[in-house]
């Protein structure tokens, strides 16, 4: 087991190296002069030179690469062109809302989608199953901003139950924070719920046709227990896998959801960076998000042994 974890940890190194290389060469291989594009249409030649200097584009390419790799290894993600602050510092300021949003979304999705999937599988080919599957097909199609604005309209403007937009930090009370992330978490959770419900249904349905399920029924185990203890537990591996795959959706979704709900998190940092064309911030965020994704996938791989003791490494 330990050997496996070490091996998997080592395997993340080439992935992150490719990400780092990719991000570096993106700046150098794009056609045109990135310094001129980043400085904007109204920039004077001096301003363009300033941007070029800040990005280090005026140095020889091997030197730039050396500095870039050295910074990354020391855990430095670069410096913003406009505010001159290190990207890490900017990320730290904006981290809390995004993490709270991502975790609540994950919870909302899992808590709603898994029971939906299990019930749909149990009542396969009935009206309940059709409704769940219909919801799942719809969930994939409806963009997060449409769900977001519909939820705001219904629950914040018409019913006035929840705040329209914005985020209350945890320091001001957990209750207020939760109130401010309910709508964004549901809006963002929709795709996720669709994905998890669909895979839960398919995977539970497959397990339900196994002999040991029939045995469990025959020896008089209650249906609830058959579904949860026998079926769901054995169907867990594909479900956990899809939660990992969906994590990518979650990251992209966070950026859009934060814009819809005016949440000052990493997504807003990204959008502000787009508007100012602050490439180092975007570059740093890519490396950061990729690292998070790689770590999540690693944890999921390791969790398989917990759900299915037959899997040994």
């Amino acid at each position: 087991m330990t050997a496996y974890i070490v091996r998997r940890l080592l395997a993340t190194i080439p992935v992150m190296a490719v990400v780092a290389l990719f991000v570096f060469f993106l700046l150098h291989l794009t056609p045109g002069d990135p310094a001129a594009v980043i400085a904007g249409d109204d920039a004077t030649p001096a301003e363009i030179e300033g941007v070029r200097h800040k990005l280090g584009l005026d140095r020889p390419i091997y030197e730039q690469f050396g500095i870039y790799v050295g910074n990354l290894l020391r855990g430095e993600l670069g410096t913003s062109i406009f505010s001159n602050l290190p990207v890490i510092a900017l990320v730290k300021q904006r981290l809390e809302p995004s993490v709270v949003l991502a975790v609540s979304t994950l919870l909302v999705a899992v808590v709603f989608a898994i029971p939906m999937g299990v019930i749909a599988a149990w009542k396969a080919r009935t009206a309940i199953d059709r409704i769940v599957m219909g919801f799942s097909v719809l969930g994939f199609a409806v963009p997060v901003f449409l769900v977001g604005y519909l939820l705001i309209y219904l629950f914040a403007i018409e019913l006035r139950w929840l705040p329209v937009q914005g985020y209350k930090p945890l320091a001001q009370g957990v209750g207020q924070t939760l109130r401010s992330v309910v709508l964004p978490a549901f809006a963002l959770g929709m795709v996720y719920m669709a994905l998890i419900a669909r895979i839960t249904r398919a995977s539970v349905l497959e397990v339900l046709s196994e002999d040991y399920i029939r045995t469990a029924h025959a020896k008089g185990v209650a249906t609830r227990s058959v579904l949860l203890r026998h079926a769901l537990k054995n169907a867990a591996v594909p479900i956990v896998t899809v939660i990992g795959i969906g994590f990518a959706l979650l990251i992209s979704g966070v950026v859009i959801t934060e814009t819809v709900f005016n949440i000052p998190g990493l997504g807003r940092l990204t959008v502000d960076a787009i508007l100012k064309r602050d490439y180092p911030i975007i570059q740093g965020l890519i490396i950061l998000f990729a690292a998070v994704k790689v770590i999540v996938n690693l944890m999921i791989d390791i969790s398989y042994t917990f759900f299915d003791p037959r899997i040994r490494y």
Binding site: P14, M16, V37, F140, V142, L205, V271, I274, I286
Partner: protein, 291 residues
């Protein structure tokens, strides 16, 4: 995704049992295609169906949906209906171009990977790295570095879609390569190129068609998302994402600016997914039986 049935199965089946019977058995494909055909007609006939999407009349700012302005107007007094009809052009063009480019490039790379071990080792590491980057951020990075244009948007959305196509094609190639008839072809001296084109390529077509529909749907959503964030199609082009982005500021008093393009976007993606799901079920009955 192991062995793959002939791509011509649905066509042959349709010929045998008659088109109507085939349509009755595949309601999702028919419904999805019908919606897409209507949208495509609207996109092509936009100049006749709608007014100039760019003309603005400040007197008619933020008008509710009415008989003159079916979908209302935005804060510049532009007709949201006209902008939505013209927006269908952008969404369909982006969806189709990205699907075509990503499948073509993914197919070429995937076949190389599946066939040449050495290429495989390097290319798959690159693909793993690319897949670790959230697609919307990769697109944002590309767009930040280049002057905004529809072409750049298409390229930026295509690149992150490629790795998944490569993986799919590669898995098909690897499983087909292990078949005895490939061994026989190699033994009888058939050249590598010919084996790829004549024996391996046809097997990838069915899963590729299904994958292309999903790439198309995802590209349309990504374009809208990028435009919504201000990193997509240049704002002077009326795309659904741009219309929604404009509506953000006045959302509380003029929700229709966001609502109509949003619903069109959802219906389009839904229709494409219906076609995709339907094709997946007919082209690969093994999965269909399980679902």
């Amino acid at each position: 995704m192991a062995t793959v049935p002939d791509a011509a199965v649905p066509v042959a089946a349709a010929r045998r049992e008659g088109v109507l019977a085939w349509m009755a058995r595949n309601p999702t494909i028919v419904l999805g295609s019908a919606i897409l055909v209507l949208l495509a007609i609207a996109a092509v006939l936009a100049p006749w169906l709608a007014d100039d999407p760019l003309s603005f009349e400040p007197i008619n700012r933020l008008k509710r949906p009415s008989e003159t302005f079916w979908f209302g107007t935005d804060q510049f007094g532009r007709d949201v209906y006209s902008r939505v009809v013209y927006g269908a052009r952008i969404s369909l063009v982006v969806g189709i171009c990205v699907a075509a480019l990503a499948t073509a490039l993914g197919l070429a790379l995937g076949i190389l990977c599946g066939y040449y071990r050495r290429v495989d080792a390097i290319l798959m590491r690159v693909m793993d790295g690319m897949m670790a980057i959230p697609s919307i951020l990769l697109a944002i990075a590309l767009i930040t570095l280049m002057k905004a244009s529809l072409f750049i948007v298409i390229v930026a959305i295509t690149i992150p879609e490629i790795p998944r196509v490569v993986r799919l094609v590669r898995s098909v190639v690897l499983s087909v390569r292990a078949q005895p008839y490939i061994e026989a072809a190699v033994a009888s001296g058939t050249r590598g190129m010919r084996i790829m084109v004549r024996h391996i390529l046809p097997n990838t077509i069915a899963p590729l068609i299904v994958q292309a529909t999903y790439v198309c749907a995802s590209a349309i959503l990504t374009e809208a998302g990028l435009s919504f964030l201000g990193a997509g199609t240049p704002p002077e082009i009326p795309s659904w994402g741009n219309v929604i982005s404009i509506g953000r500021t006045f959302f509380q008093i003029a929700p229709w600016i966001i609502f109509f393009p949003g619903v069109f976007l959802a219906i389009t993606v839904l229709a494409i997914n219906l076609v995709g799901d339907g094709l997946r079920d007919t082209l690969d009955p093994r999965i269909a039986r399980r679902m």
